[in-house]
Amino acid sequence: MIQLIFFLSIGGLLFASLFFLARRKPRPEGSSGALIEARQALMALQAGLLPAQLVKRIFAPEDWEFVRAEAPTAVRELFIDERKRVALLWVSQVRTQIHNLRRFHRGAARSYARLNPRSEMELAFSFAGLILACRMLQLVIYVGGPYAAPRLIGSMVDAASRACKISEQSLAFLNAAQLGVLNGRPTGSAAV
């Protein structure tokens, strides 16, 4: 019986893999499109999602303290609901951009003949861990509200900002001129 279960499990695993292959849609991984996406992800993280002022504003406890002290219950509830929604959207956006950076790494790594499978496995688990951490943060905000984990959010913002700086070094070779070529037009001659 153990044997039967073992071999049926292998068959089930292969069947599931084939199912995903059949449903798979082609994505421009590692193509020039993916590189542009990676660059855009970095820019979105730096300019749009991680500036300290924006994050402080989303999670500012002073706002909540003011509303709690001055507004009636209905307004308080509305405030908490909307802040929660904004916070969840923010974490989801950060996660998406981390996904994009991961895709960029995979798209680049697959072309290296000297790729080290062990390093790749380590990196894969690490990225998975980070995405899981984002998920956990989403869960904490969903259950406990936007003011449930201020330290975690602060640290995450700090870490993600540093990550962006290092990723920027990784993507430094993708300067504006090369991006222009990848986009199919020379830099500085955008459609007028």
């Binding site: 019986m1 082609p26 697959r110 990196l123 894969a124 990723s167």
Partner: protein, 252 residues
């Protein structure tokens, strides 16, 4: 009753597949794959002749042909690796490592199995084929894992080749596993299921390999850094920093 019509239909589709490949000039492009198809046709012809002239030898001949086509089937895996992963040396290296790991896993299982349960039946032909099919299954799983992970694009020809062969392997593996467990009582079902699944695979191949559809090539204009280690260490640096901060936050 159903077995023979299914087998005859299979031979007809195999012949048509081979003729179509000659017409569409696919023979030289997918050499290993069509060698497998040709070996199947040849094997069927030999078995038919045996059945008509020396039926007593049919059972032995069946297993011999089955093993020859099984070994030729590894050529399909080679074909898939050559066409899908060749432009991506990094992913190819990873897939090779995954293939070796799959082989080691099943080899280790085969070594340990007698110690886990001493009263298991001795190795018979069916069990041996089942073990080889499971190695192929794990190999395809590893290959697909690499394809999914690195987001490698696949053309229609290769997708059909993987789906068709994978489906046949899954059905064979499951049927053989149940046959080995249930004994001869399952033979009647097994004798229909296995050729039927092969016919379905042939139809998938016929549709997917109707004309040449090259696998998408990576963009040659992509500027890459010179060193993989530089890329990996930078990515590792990013991850380490985020992890350190999250850990600090968790402790706080």
């Amino acid at each position: 009753m159903w077995r023979w019509p299914i087998e005859y239909a299979g031979i007809a589709v195999q012949l048509f597949l081979l003729l179509r490949s000659a017409w569409a000039r696919l023979l030289t492009r997918y050499y290993f794959f069509y060698t497998y198809i040709a070996s199947g046709i040849l094997g069927s012809a030999i078995l038919m002749t045996m059945l008509l002239r020396t039926p007593a030898l049919y059972a032995k001949g069946y297993w011999a042909v089955q093993f020859v086509t099984l070994v030729a089937g590894y050529g399909i895996l080679l074909e898939i690796m050559n066409h899908v992963l060749a432009p991506y040396p990094g992913a190819e290296r990873f897939a090779r490592a995954a293939g070796v790991a799959a082989f080691c896993a099943i080899f280790l299982f085969a070594l340990l199995a007698p110690f886990i349960k001493s009263q298991w039946a001795p190795v018979v032909v069916i069990e041996f084929e089942r073990d080889l099919r499971s190695v192929q299954s794990l190999f395809i799983c590893g290959l697909l894992g690499v394809i999914f992970y690195y987001g490698i694009p696949i053309g229609r020809n290769m997708k059909g080749m993987i789906l068709g062969y994978g489906l046949y392997i899954v059905t064979s593996l499951m049927a053989l596993a149940v046959r080995a467990y249930a004994g001869p009582s399952f033979s009647a079902v097994w004798k229909v299921v296995q050729p039927l699944s092969f016919d379905i695979s042939l139809v998938i191949w016929l549709v997917a390999l109707w004309s040449y559809c090259p696998n998408p090539e990576p963009d040659p204009n992509i500027p890459l850094e010179q060193d993989y280690e530089a890329l990996a260490s930078r990515t590792r640096g990013v991850i380490d920093i985020i992890r350190t901060y999250l850990r600090k936050a968790a402790r706080a």
